[in-house]
């Protein structure tokens, strides 16, 4: 099952998954490796793009107003 799950991103990146033991995950835990290192600012940027570009949406509903200006 675990291997099957591992296969999904593999298809996308053509890179194999390596077994990473818990004690080898120090680097992955660094703040710069976070999916969103600056989440508050990312939310602001997403909001701004959303009011100026057609390709908003597709994510979770999180409000944001009309943006009619």
């Amino acid at each position: 099952m675990n291997k099957l799950v591992c296969l999904l991103p593999l298809v996308l990146v053509i890179t194999g998954c390596t077994a990473v033991a818990p004690w080898q995950r120090g680097t992955l835990a660094k703040p710069q490796m976070a999916l969103e290192p600056n989440p508050v600012q990312s939310a602001l940027r997403t909001h701004t793009y959303g009011s100026r570009e057609a390709a908003a949406g597709g994510g979770s509903a999180v409000g944001g107003g009309c943006g009619c200006y």
């Binding site: 591992c6 999904l8 992955l28 835990a29 999916l35 508050v40 701004t48 959303g50 509903a61 107003g65």
Partner: protein, 907 residues
Amino acid sequence: MGARQWEVVVAATKVTSALQALTVAALALPGLLQSTTCLADDDEVDFQYSHYQEGKRSLVKVPNNRNPIEVDSIFGSSKVSLTDRIKFAFAYTQDTWSGATPITTAPLVGNGNHPIQVTSGKNLLTVGASPLINRQIFLDPQLHPLNYKQQIDASPVHILATASPETRKQGDFKLGYEWDEAAVDIGGGISVEKDYESRFGNINTRWDFNQKLTSLNVGLSYTNSDTSAILDHDAEPYITKTAFQNQIEILPYTQVLSGNKQDWSSSLGLTQVLNKNALIETNIGYTRSTGYLENPYKVMTVVFADSATLGSDPSAPNALVGDVRALLEQRPNERNQLTMGARYIQYINPLDAALHLDYRFFHDDWGINAHTFEADWVQPLGQGWTVTPRIRYYSQDAANFYAPYLISNQAFTKTATDSIGREIWVDANNPNNGQQFFRTNNGGFVDDKGNSVDITAVDITPKRVGFDASKLPANFSSDQRLSGYGALSGGVTVSKQFAKGLSLEAGFEYYTHQGALKLGGGGEGAYSDFNYYVANAALKVNLSTLGRAIADHSSHTQHHHEHGTPAPAGVMFSHMLGNEGDMMVGYRYMYSRQAGDMLHGTDPVSDKNIKNNACLDSYLRRCRVAPDYMDMHMHMLNIMYAPTDWLNLMLMPQFMDMGMNQRLLSGVTYDATQDHLHGGHQTGGVGDTGMYALFKLFDKTGHHLHTSLGLSAPTGDVDIKLRRMHGKDAGFIHYGMQLGSGTWDFNPSLTYTGNLARWSWGAQLSGTIRLEDKNASGYALGDIFQSTAWGSYNLTHWLSASVRGVYTAQGQINGAFNLTPGVANGKQVNNVNPGSKSNFSAGPMDYGNSYGGRYWDVGFGVSATIPEGTFQGHRFGVEWLQPVEDDVNGYQLERVGALSASWNLMF
């Protein structure tokens, strides 16, 4: 429309050089790979301010004198663990925007931006541009627009409209539960603006597999939004609204277009650790939107060119005369959107940096395909500093119903004819009564039965019929967001992590939108290009880290008890930090409202009295309007630091937003071109910034005395003007709606506090002295003196209740707004402020002698200092100030009351 995401912190602890510490941290985490949709581990309070500023748009032939769109936003959020497994987060966002934005696009040959011209000596000067959306142009028989030389010129130009400031407020929350290898959270919120209200809910789940090397995220959300747009009263008479007639409500002073929209979104994401230095996140999302998907403020320019007009204008015998009209835009009532994206994160070992690469593809059934590429380089520099440069490229196709403008081969309206080609005439006073008349060969009229009609008895007129909507496309929009273009942006974020869990972040991004940047070419013309920048600054307080510091340093708790209970929430500068190196962060919200009777001195006053006496300095020497209500909200952030035990330094940025409406005084006849009665005015943004030093004067058991000396810097705007309306510039908005004092101010205070057993008490004298005679706009607010005294009682060891008396005196405004030259009805005039000859509607709030007064209030408050748990050491306070008496200068609305709420954390 935007997204509010929740912070993801992969590492719970501060990074140290010891790899082992990191490993332990990683092991301890419930999910190493948390997506943005689920709540993070660390408890945190965040504040952010941002400013969005657009560049001026090109109007090609005429100068653009309009300020472009700008948006000031504040954001505050808090995320806390209620238990080890239950997390709660809430956030508040507020945006205030104003400025000029395109409402439509038109053929340049029509001079859509009518030059505002004034005569100066013998010269005709062009001083600006005014939108003109109904006019005539020439076209060749093949329907190409012609310029004045009768040459084909189809180039388009934007037509801009300016919005006076408007504010949006949003509150939302998330509640999450976490298992060892799974998490679920539900969230919801509401976003409110004057013309748009949106309610939303969402649920997100996360499952970890494969020793937490793999995470699966599934989310579902729903949004329901109501539009109730007040149609631009300047442009509304020129807009064709037939397609939305049953959605428009006609009110006394305005027309309101209503609609409802619903969005369902689902998303599926997978995050995978590839190796010890790289991970990838992939996601797919689907959103279905239905209902009113239009932008109510965008109109489509349609040139109605009837072949029958060929040669009807002798100056262009070979041309058709096109009737340029503006129709409310029409979009499909359904939109299905698909997104697919991937994000790859690679650790760069020699530099201790991380490279983030993102790609996102978007497709919808409006014909838009879009691609987004982004690269971020996150570079830690040591000592808590991190610098993140980034670059982003975005490209989209145009929607299949997008067009800059439309040309339709028919008349906008024409005389109706019957089946045999006779002109139909109707009763001018009752055109829809079914009666029809026809002209006879001898000049008389007959009805449809052929009976002769006495036209001296009936007022008849030719029957007009509108255009055939079926000859137009079913959907059309000229909204730039639906055009084909590319956008390139780049920016940098700098953050500094301080000890004790405090961090500051600042970012800047520049963005350019250009038709020529569209992937594969074929984008919109250069007329639609624009740029913007966004600058932001954020303060983050990591409560988990602070909590540990507070627990380690129990003397703080001891210290809190020394001075008894906290002062009521409405009292500022009431407390000093007692130990060298101590810090405090705090947030204070104050709301005040004026509504009800108009007062003169202490007594209610009649409309007649106001009309005749409160606006003696106006052109009419009479008032036409008076305030109906006035709301003020202030958000204050304070950061306090004790370099020694007798001196504290404090910085206090403020954010303001105000709303007011005015009413016509009784006995005044409404004048649509003068009296601005269309739903109220709003302003908002950065207020003045305070810098204070607090000195300890006396500190013995049970008694404490300190003084504060401060300066308030004039960072709030005092030059906010209303937009040009009815062909006239409108000048400054009322003094009370400006965001700051505009002057450097001196703020001294003296505070005494005492306590015995369960009782605490205190008194404070404070003042605001303007250090300048007038600000950049020509006036200075009155000085303020305030005295207050309070007593409080500890109900329990952590909760206290207080009663307070307050006396405040404030002088009237000195000076007045500078004269504002402008253009009114095609003439340059030396002043367009309210109360001037060209903008003569005024009320007491437009005059400085109706500001300030003497006020008595009583306050009732509660304060809590949380003794243990997640919020250990946090102080919360709420106080309501109830007016006892108002003795106002001039003519003012009475006060309803004021609410203060505060949060403080010392560490």
